[in-house]
């Protein structure tokens, strides 16, 4: 660790987060399940393959266009399980609430959690509540953990991308990050941009029905598409080429990014999945994804290559090339 204090950037999903995990946590907790650094652990129990994961949600403000912290908390954990091809089954939920938080809001958050859990077909089966003094945290934090079952014959991991594989995304990028950031930055929209937060286990199930041999699934949350693809390129020791023209970005998201000085490739998503699949099944997977409400705008955005290992290269609209690095620090609105 190069820093003697934790900075915000240690939690932003970029390089410093990676450093914190690999240099501080891994050496201490050291276990083969953890060391794989996937979004979930896979454990064997009485012959069954279980997927197990946990995630904490601290979004501010807790209510934002199209969603709230409760919906995020369920989707986030459901998706972490789904990204291993697992069927999510049970969730736990822990609330840490600031003294004075309105009960009405808590009721709204739990209703939203229940609705999302029902949609995803998971049960919330245990929980915990702590209340802390005013000022100790910003309104409400939620932790969820989840357990799911991995079907036979499924082997999805960040280290399975192979040269020739296609990179697929299930729609427009950056909606969530911009929906949340816009509120804070005084931007408004003619057509409201809402969070893309969604439980993706149904979509993943339908993809696996078309092809069991999906190599990698990962949800590009913090750090965005750029950071997630970098992680995959490193874990699989391959190169990834993205075509700028094919990456779907809404005009409003692009415009907001221009104003704030952001790159949409680094903006967070909560209902997106990056799928890396063998070339022969790519088209049929995309066709199937488009039948799902969370995959209507699915498209192939790039491919895996046996070149520039560990790096992601973007071929630009004018025919140039550039490397797309991981997010360093957090994205801050900038003027230059």
């Amino acid at each position: 660790m190069r820093h003697d204090k934790i900075l915000l950037a240690h939690g932003s999903g970029g390089k410093l987060s990676h450093e914190l995990v690999t240099e501080l946590f891994l050496p201490v907790f050291d276990s083969p399940e953890l060391n794989r650094l996937d979004d979930r652990a896979e454990v064997q129990v009485a012959g069954a393959r279980l997927a197990f994961t946990t995630d904490s949600f601290v979004v501010s403000p807790p209510f934002f266009p199209g969603g709230d912290i409760g919906k995020l908390a369920v989707c986030g954990t459901v998706n972490d399980l789904a990204m291993g091809g697992a069927e999510p089954l049970w969730l736990s939920t822990g609330f840490i609430i600031e003294e004075g938080f309105p009960v009405d809001k808590l009721r709204a958050i739990t209703a939203s959690m229940k609705k999302t859990a029902d949609e995803a077909g998971v049960k919330i089966v245990c929980g915990d509540t702590k209340v802390v003094e005013k000022g100790s945290l910003d309104q409400i934090f939620i932790n969820t953990s989840g357990i799911g079952m991995v079907p036979e014959g499924v082997d999805i991991s960040g280290n399975r991308a192979r040269p020739g594989d296609k990179v697929i995304i299930n729609g427009f990028i950056g909606d969530h990050g911009i929906a949340v950031m816009a509120e804070r930055q005084g931007l408004s929209f003619r057509n409201q941009i809402t969070t893309d937060s969604a439980p993706l286990n149904g979509l993943v199930r339908s993809m696996l029905e078309v092809s069991k041999d999906i190599h990698v699934l990962r949800d590009p949350t913090r750090g965005g598409v750029a950071t997630t693809l970098n992680e995959i390129a490193m874990q699989s020791n391959v190169g990834i080429v993205l075509r700028e023209d094919s990456v779907p970005v809404r005009d409003e998201v692009m415009a907001a990014c221009e104003i704030l000085g952001f790159d949409p490739l680094y903006v967070a998503n909560e209902g997106k999945v990056l799928a890396i699949v063998p070339p022969e099944s790519a088209d049929s997977v995309v066709t199937e994804m488009r039948k799902n409400r969370y995959g209507e705008d699915s498209v192939i955005i790039g491919e895996v290559v046996d070149d520039h290992h560990g790096k992601v290269v973007l071929s630009t609209g004018i025919g140039g090339k550039r490397i797309v690095d991981m997010l360093v620090g957090e994205q801050l609105p900038r003027i230059c």
């Binding site: 931007l187 005009d251 409003e252 415009a255 907001a256 221009e258």
Partner: protein, 76 residues
């Protein structure tokens, strides 16, 4: 050194304007371009309109090269 985005003035109130680009609206200060009117396009930098965009020039810039390209097509 200086990001600036083109945007259209959709409303004006004192030294504040609402501008729109790509479906995104934002309030900006017009202290530096007090002469702006509704429907003008401006360059927005750090929450200020810093210059009024010359639409005629904008069209000319693109036309220049579109014409050269068309000429290329005709020749080939």
């Amino acid at each position: 050194m200086c990001l600036a985005v083109p945007a259209k003035i959709v409303s004006l109130s004192g030294m504040t304007a609402e501008v729109e680009t790509g479906g995104v609206t934002k309030k900006v200060s017009t202290d530096l371009v007090p002469e702006v009117r509704i429907n003008d396009y401006v360059l927005v930098h750090a929450g200020f309109a810093i210059q009024v965009i010359d639409e005629q020039e904008a069209v000319e810039t693109l036309k220049l090269f579109q014409e050269i390209l068309e000429h290329e097509h005709e020749v080939s």
